[in-house]
């Protein structure tokens, strides 16, 4: 699996090209987007309309708008009309505020059948914009592997055939960076989007977005992980996207008020410098700072989300990962990110697989990866997690879905639903490192049982029930997916609000919409249904905004200003909300306030809900969750936390004397499922939706998204 820079340079064959004059960016927008039809090898510019900017803002909003126009209610993920849209948003690309270089990727998902969006670091989105394009639409399917190259310096887009005989995404990123860069210095002006062989062989393929790390002198990658976007990419026969832009100054967005952005940036840089070491330690360990706290609070998924902690959790604690990560180096996935959480393990020697014996730089593991590929498999070995993380990335498969679905497989194996005969000899018990790593290689290479595993949980449940006679109700209870997407790595059993945070999320159970566990369960700040509904309105809307702008969520509340905790609305981090209002106004020259910020999100959020409806989803039945996310499915789970659960039943007025565990589980289940339904009622009401989860016409009208095509979709469900 080796490829040389020389081979790449000499094998380039241009299939289509377009010369252009890069648009001058005006207050965050290029005003142009780039459309590429891969079936016809056609490249053309589009004008970004005022309506696009006013209603959809940018980033994920642009992605959803273009995708809506591209597909019909019948379009499937692997139809040529499906698009992958990448967009950075108006703030995207500023260098003064941490976390401002995100790309938002939108497509129809192979696993959910509906819209998926993913928020990813790396340099691609900002370089795309500064090359003159607010968004990139990729439609159609090529009949051979192709690479799209956007040269923002020369004003040229080419669709090319390039010999890249490898399924290893880290090699593709490396070789293309080297081949397209004109010098060592030029490497940081290149960003590559690619995936690996796992995206050809599973439905959970993801995309790696690269950037060049000038200190380590290596290409590094961040992942657009969720929902199988990489699988769509390979279905279109895209091998890679490459952008080159060398003119970064820090003012490329041509902002309306540079000073406003500068002041907000300096303020938060100083905060991070002063408080990060005593708050989240993002600069030391990134999101893996959560490992110890999650285990301590019974929230770390252990063995397919059965338990929330494990005595061996200390082997993969925060401190352990600090010792693995290189310290005191700049680790931002976009320029100027003082939060610098994108940690790396340097010189890691691989023990398995096609790169066995090689020393590599491994990005992460972030918290999600460490929980997904470690505790959720009953594996408490940091080196195993680092190796699994490396291979997921280079095979191009989503660590979260991989983690959650292999955990599901392991439980099925332990319950006898699967056996060695079915798995091709793999003894997939919890904690079996060798078997788990082998399954990961099978997923990446499309071999053996990996071919079934790669279908992801929703389809696996069908296969296990139909072909292996498994009880489909039990599979529904323990298979941690909703809407067809695997859960991300938090135990929500004891937080009703978080059950809603996962279950009601537009794209499926990902924590980027709402993370309310501490607010709900630990601090008891949202006790009533109305409180929870308000939180499930405000926070998903607020967090949606990051995806419209090209921003990262982490600098919002993974650092807090002095005195924040004493404020009434501490959970909102009011000073940082004001920073976001300021940097938005600073870039665009508009004069929004924090209320208009939420409205910008509401427009796009409701549009996405209607988009789900248009594709046959998006109603109450689609917000159902597996019971494992709500409470104990098995007696072993109940009994492992018996004191807590018995206490809860007594508080509810049940006389539990003489009740069997099974009886207690039954009444608890009835209660918890009722609570979830009541929560949904309250949230729908707060969001201005019907009791079936359909946005009301007056809601659409108030938000200004009552376009005839949107109203037509909704009317059918009213």
């Amino acid at each position: 699996m080796t490829i040389s820079v020389e081979d790449v340079r000499t094998s380039r064959k241009v299939l289509a090209e377009m010369d252009y004059t890069p648009a001058k960016i005006d207050k965050g927008y290029a005003g142009q987007s780039l459309y590429v039809n891969l079936s016809e090898a056609r490249i053309e510019p589009k004008t970004v309309t005022q309506e696009m900017k006013d209603i959809f803002t940018g980033g994920k909003g642009f992605g959803l708008r273009y995708l809506w126009q591209a597909v019909t209610p019948d379009t499937k993920w692997n139809d040529p009309e499906n698009e992958i849209v990448i967009s950075a948003g108006p703030i995207g690309g500023i260098t003064q505020y941490p976390g401002s270089g995100k790309s938002l990727v939108v497509t129809l998902s192979p696993t959910t059948g509906s819209v998926i969006d993913s928020n990813v670091g790396g340099y691609f989105g900002p370089y795309l914009k500064f090359s003159g394009w607010d968004a990139l639409e990729l439609q159609g399917k090529s009949d051979k592997d192709v690479v799209l190259y956007i040269d923002g310096d020369k004003g040229k887009v080419t669709l090319e055939e390039i010999e890249l005989e490898t399924g290893a995404s880290h090699l593709i990123s490396e070789v293309l960076t080297e081949a397209f860069a004109e010098s060592e210095e030029d490497k940081q002006h290149i960003s590559v989007v690619s995936t690996g062989s796992g995206a050809d062989n599973t439905l959970i393929g993801m995309l790696n977005f690269s950037w060049y790390d000038p200190r380590r002198q290596v290409v590094r990658m961040k992942q657009a992980g969720r929902g199988g976007i990489g699988t769509v990419f390979r279905d279109k026969k895209l091998k890679a996207l490459v952008v080159r832009f060398s003119g970064l100054t820090g003012k490329n967005n041509n902002p309306a008020d540079f000073g406003k952005i500068q002041r907000a940036g300096v303020k938060i840089h100083r905060e991070i410098n002063k408080f990060d070491d005593v708050q989240c330690r993002m600069r030391q360990v990134g999101t893996a700072n959560l490992m110890t706290v999650m285990n301590d609070y019974d929230l770390l998924p252990v063995m397919n989300f059965k338990y929330g902690s494990h005595p061996e959790g200390k082997k993969i604690s925060t401190e352990v990962f600090i010792s693995k990560f290189t310290q005191n180096v700049y680790d931002g996935c976009w320029y100027g990110c003082s939060m610098s959480c994108c940690k790396a393990v340097d010189g890691f020697e691989l023990k398995t697989g096609p790169f066995k014996g090689e020393k590599v730089v491994v990005d992460g593991p972030e918290y999600e990866n460490a929980a997904a590929l470690g505790s959720n498999w009953g594996i408490f070995d940091p080196d195993f997690i680092i190796e699994a993380n490396f291979y997921c990335d280079t095979y191009g498969i989503d660590t979260i879905s991989t983690g959650t679905m292999v955990a599901f497989i392991m439980e099925c194996y332990e319950k006898g639903i699967l056996n060695k005969e079915i798995t091709g000899g793999l003894e997939l018990n919890f904690g079996n490192k060798e078997a788990a790593m082998e399954l990961l290689h099978q997923l990446g290479q499309g071999k053996g049982f990996g071919k079934i595993a790669g279908l992801a949980i929703r389809r696996m449940k069908k296969v296990f029930a139909e072909e292996y006679g498994a009880d489909s109700n039990f599979l529904q209870d323990i298979g941690m997916e909703a809407k067809g997407l695997e859960y991300s790595e938090y135990l929500s059993k004891e937080s009703l609000a978080q059950q809603g945070g996962f279950g009601l999320a537009n794209k499926g159970p990902q924590h980027d919409e709402a993370w309310l566990i501490f607010m709900d369960m630990v601090n008891n700040q949202i006790p009533t249904f109305e409180d929870k509904a308000e939180a499930l309105h405000y926070f998903p809307m607020f967090r949606t905004w990051f995806g419209l702008q090209g921003l990262c969520k982490l600098p919002w509340n993974d650092i807090e200003p002095e005195g924040n905790k004493q404020l009434e609305e501490a959970n909102k981090v009011p000073e940082h909300v004001q920073n976001y209002v300021d940097i938005y106004n600073g870039v665009t020259g508009k004069n929004i306030d924090k209320e208009e910020l939420i409205r910008q999100s509401e427009r796009v959020y409701n549009f996405q809900r209607v988009f789900n409806l248009r594709l046959g989803f998006g109603r109450r039945e689609h917000d159902r969750v597996p019971y494992r996310s709500q409470g104990p499915v098995t007696a072993e789970e109940y009994e492992s936390r018996q004191e807590r659960y018995d206490g809860q039943l007594k508080e509810l007025g049940f006389d539990i004397e003489g009740m069997s565990t099974e009886d207690k589980m039954k009444v608890m289940r009835k209660h918890r499922e009722d609570m979830y339904e009541k929560l949904i009622d309250a949230v729908y009401l707060r969001r201005g939706w019907t009791n079936d989860g359909v946005p009301k016409l007056e809601t659409l009208k108030a938000l200004g998204i009552d376009f005839p095509e949107v109203v037509d979709v909704v009317k059918k469900h009213l």
């Binding site: 100083r270 700049y330 320029y335």
Partner: protein, 131 residues
């Protein structure tokens, strides 16, 4: 390595150093554009002279390696490489990396000694220190 040394007790807050610095580097008399900034404070000795001590802490925070030590030991910013992120401003332990909205890039003392030559009271002076 030479740095701007200071004896705050001697400072009379005349502003000469700020004017010299901003005049030379920004062609205007504006203390906010000076790489040495003097202020009156409540604590003894009543004056704070904020100027870079060339500690170099900022160097590791620069994402594009625009900050480095010159042969003389002075920490210098390569404006051609700088992408105006101000991480160095946030990271400076003494807040001696300055910024201004008129300037794309941050700016700092490069120990040119112009201000020390004009100081009427020797409150600032060039001082040799170990790196």
């Amino acid at each position: 390595m030479k740095i701007v040394g200071k004896n705050e007790e001697e400072c009379i807050l005349c502003g000469t150093c700020e004017a010299v610095c901003s005049e030379y580097y920004f062609k205007e008399d504006n203390r906010e554009k000076s790489a040495i900034q003097v202020s009156e404070i409540d604590e003894d000795p009543g004056v704070d002279i904020n100027v870079c001590n060339q500690c170099g802490e900022c160097i590791r925070f620069c994402p594009v390696l625009a900050l480095s030590r010159a042969k003389s030991g002075t920490v210098i910013l390569n404006k051609k490489k700088c992408i105006a992120c101000f991480n160095c401003v946030g990271a400076c332990p003494t807040e001696s990396m300055f910024y201004h909205e008129d300037a794309v890039n941050p700016f700092k003392c490069i120990a040119c000694a112009r201000c020390t030559k004009e100081c009427p009271t020797e409150a600032i002076f060039m001082e040799e220190v170990e790196l």
